[in-house]
């Protein structure tokens, strides 16, 4: 019993939970920033910059805007962070043997969505016009990118006849996996609010988006939660679409390489494109995302 509790605490706090994922997430964010800078001919930040940003915010004074419910204002970042951490814990990444249960992929999808909902609410409660514009955009984008994202997961579940991550992971690699992976990849930049889909957090356009009134440790928690979201999304890609290797070391190396590849892809897309309007992005996801989703679903149904 004690050992089991110890394992859970370890999973939540160290790996694949808070600490390990934070280190990985900050690393990915650094790569994104550094690579983006290099592609734009800039020098880019030092290695520890995301960590420095986080620590600096922790040291700041918290200001709750007038007219905002303080309980909600304080709770939202922590809800986002907690949901993401528990999402990380239920994914069987290398070095983490988790007991898979029926329907855990649905729980994962739900937990993936919680930070988005927190962002939308943060924007709405902020009493700032920028926050509210951002909240509206974020909610709309959710309706757009979830088309290919959910279709990818449903197609995989259809092929494996299961909603268990464990079963999905050991599903045979085939046409459906490839098509579903493409549909999933199409959704990733919008889910990470990266260019050309940096619409909800459009800097220079709507200031800082939904986080415009957030400051100090609360903003730091939101930033941390975003870093963990990156890891969680890559984790989901890894367990759904990448063949499972038997050797733990090889599997860990593959996990790391796939994540690096994803962040490089996302950054490359961000560096080479300009921000779309909500309408354009929405059309993109319902046309091209819809096509990718349709292809994956069709392959799943036929196969």
């Amino acid at each position: 019993m004690m050992v089991e509790i110890g394992q859970y605490v370890f999973a939540v706090l160290l790996w694949p939970g808070l600490l390990g994922a934070a280190a990985l997430g900050f690393f990915y964010l650094w790569i994104a920033r550094k690579l983006n800078a290099r592609l734009q001919g800039r020098r880019g930040p030092p290695f520890f910059q995301p960590f420095f940003d986080f620590v600096k915010l922790l040291g700041k004074e918290t200001v709750v805007p007038r007219g905002v419910n303080p309980a909600l204002f304080y709770a939202l970042p922590f809800i986002a962070l907690t949901a993401t951490v528990f999402g990380l814990v239920i994914v069987p990444v290398p070095g983490h043997a988790v007991a898979s249960f029926p329907g855990d992929i649905i729980l994962l999808l739900y937990l993936l969505e919680v930070p988005v909902i927190c962002d939308v609410m943060a924007g709405y409660v902020s009493q700032s016009i920028y926050g509210q514009v951002s909240a509206m955009r974020e909610a709309l984008m959710g309706l757009a990118y979830n088309v290919p994202l959910l279709a990818a997961v449903i197609a995989m579940a259809q092929t494996a006849h299961s909603f268990r991550i464990g079963t999905l992971q050991s599903a045979p690699f085939g046409v459906v996996t490839g098509l579903a992976a493409i549909a999933f990849l199409v959704a990733v930049p919008a889910r990470l609010k990266s260019n050309p889909f940096s619409i909800p957090n459009a800097e220079q356009e709507i200031v800082a988006g939904a986080h415009v009134e957030y400051n100090s440790a609360l903003l730091a928690i939101f930033e941390l939660s975003h870093a963990l979201e990156v890891v969680l999304l890559f984790d989901a890609f890894f367990v759904l679409f990448v063949p499972h290797l038997d050797s733990v070391l090889a599997n860990a190396a593959l996990y790391f390489l796939i994540s690096l590849g994803l962040i490089v892809l996302v950054t490359l897309a961000a560096a080479t494109t300009a921000r779309l309007t909500v309408k354009q992005a929405f059309r993109f996801y319902w046309v091209w995302g819809g096509l990718a989703a349709g292809a994956a679903m069709a392959a799943a149904v036929i196969g």
Partner: protein, 172 residues
């Protein structure tokens, strides 16, 4: 797809931005932080009057003298105080203010001490010798030098005595 060749070229080249330790030298006209030589200050308050952001102020509460207070955190580096200081006590030599969150490091307090008037002993701030030398070009001697250490009241009396000696005493 020209954008891909652009980012690829950027990736291959070295960065066009500079490292913080590799900044170009500051221009010779760069104003920077002001410095005050308390030995030249007469306490006329011209600097405090022209200072738009009120970075310079005087404090007269003390027993021993008045203080010249400068807060770099409020300074806009406009250089008006330098231009208006009649004795050139304030200069700027392009020194950068410290980058710090510690406000005490941005504050300068100089005390301009009272001296007793050579006549009546009231506390006064005499015009510094160095400042007078700057104005006259030579070192002051005799009665002029002695007058420097008098309060305005005693100086007036001295002037009246001069006039009296010059016109009345000689004639009488």
């Amino acid at each position: 797809m020209g954008i891909f060749s652009i980012v690829w070229r950027n990736f291959g080249r070295s960065a066009r931005t500079r490292h913080p330790t590799d900044m170009p030298p500051t221009a010779s006209t760069f104003r920077g932080l002001i410095e005050q030589d308390v030995g030249l200050c007469t306490g006329c308050k011209a600097c405090a009057t022209v200072c738009a952001p009120k970075a310079i102020s005087f404090d007269e509460e003390h027993e021993t003298g008045i203080t010249w207070n400068f807060f770099a955190g409020q300074c806009s580096f406009c250089g008006l105080c330098v231009q208006f200081c009649p004795t050139n006590a304030i200069t700027n030599r392009g020194k950068l203010p410290p980058v710090t969150g510690d406000q005490s490091r941005l504050r300068v307090v100089h005390e301009i001490r009272y001296q007793p008037c050579a006549g009546c002993g009231r506390p006064i701030i005499p015009i510094p010798e160095a400042a007078l030398e700057q104005v006259y070009g030579t070192k002051l001697t005799g009665s002029e030098a002695a007058q420097r250490e008098l309060c305005p009241e005693c100086r007036r009396k001295e002037a009246v005595r001069h006039i009296h000696d010059a016109f009345l005493a000689r004639g009488g």
